[in-house]
Symmetry: C2
Subunit: 176 residues, 2 copies
DNA sequence: GCTTGAATGTTAGTCGCTAACATTCGTGGG
DNA sequence: CCCACGAATGTTAGCGACTAACATTCAAGC
């Protein structure tokens, strides 16, 4: 946790790419080597995705006769309640930092690929075509990610759940 | 072009991360330094996006009273003709390599961010809300990217335009 | 008290990438 | 025809992320 605090502080003051893991290690009172024993990469301090199984399950719980995109969309909305509970203070700090760095957004994109894969596997297990499933999952996750990044840059009174609902509403089959 | 050929060959035989730019340079008969004078980064050999203005213009050409997602969707479909003309032989090789490497997919994701930004700017210029525009553009581009990656892994007789049409059809406002 | 295992440190190295400077070489003007 | 100029290439040195092999500390359990 000392590492995480030190890293967050440094990232916020001088930016992500401008701070080296040597600096982080020094600020945390450890060796650079020790940093990598706790985080496999520099970006792992900010990018973590513990929600994949939860989301995949929520998608699978939607009616099977719906098209993949609609199942994914409703599944994400259903999972939203439990996920946005994890909206602690540091979560927003982390998202804000990620939103500012292309390298970090790329790392996050790789992270959401895992989520996409979980969803796709679930959809395919219920008989969906793999490409159709990938299209549906990636579109929904992209919209959600856009909302997430906007949340990181938004004022404190804006809620993540609201933005995500707005994002997924745009993908609803019949729009006003 | 010697560099590009050498890189493509090495990437295909031993994989992207397993081949160093030293190897590429040696295979092309040059110095590592010279490699970076022609390509700013190692991934620049594979990831290039010259279509941004074309796409943004196509999106802008769609009826202004449609919602952002629909404008983007139709714009991408309209631009598809001219883009898939660039389906030369090496394009597919490149996409296939990108599809296999997480690091390259991440680099490509950053590339499509530029496209997304171009689309968003165009939509915002026509009065759309910035977040709504970002959601629409990222969802459409994610679906398109899914199709592109599938194309890279598909048989030779599968056409890119067909896959993209299928991808964007799933985002149509009223589905069967 | 001794041992075991986990956490940490040390050293050295690879790879992507950059900067400062030297070198070759083909082309056009004197 | 020669020289000067600029473009492309090479050389050296270095930074930063990351890894591997090995040594060290240190706390808990037998």
């Amino acid at each position: 946790m000392r590492i995480l605090e030190a890293a967050l502080d440094l990232f916020e003051t001088q930016g992500y790419e401008a701070t080296t893991v040597n600096e982080i290690a020094a600020a945390a009172g450890i060796t650079p080597m020790t940093f990598f024993r706790h985080f496999p990469t520099k970006d792992a301090v900010l990018v973590t995705d513990p929600y994949d199984p939860l989301i995949a399950e929520a998608v699978g719980a939607q009616p099977v006769d719906l098209p993949p995109l609609e199942r994914t969309r409703l599944g994400l909305l259903a999972a939203l309640g439990e996920i946005s509970a994890g909206e602690d203070a540091t979560a927003r700090r982390r998202v804000a930092i990620v939103a500012r760095s292309p390298a970090l957004r790329a790392a996050a994109a790789i992270g959401t690929e895992a989520t996409q894969e979980a969803i796709v596997d679930r959809l395919v297990a219920d008989g969906a075509d793999r490409l159709d499933a990938a299209i549906a999952a990636s579109a929904c996750l992209a919209a959600t990610t856009a909302a997430l990044l906007a949340w990181g840059a938004a004022h404190a009174d804006v809620t993540l759940a609201g933005l995500v609902r707005r994002a997924l509403a745009q993908l609803a089959p019949v729009r006003s």
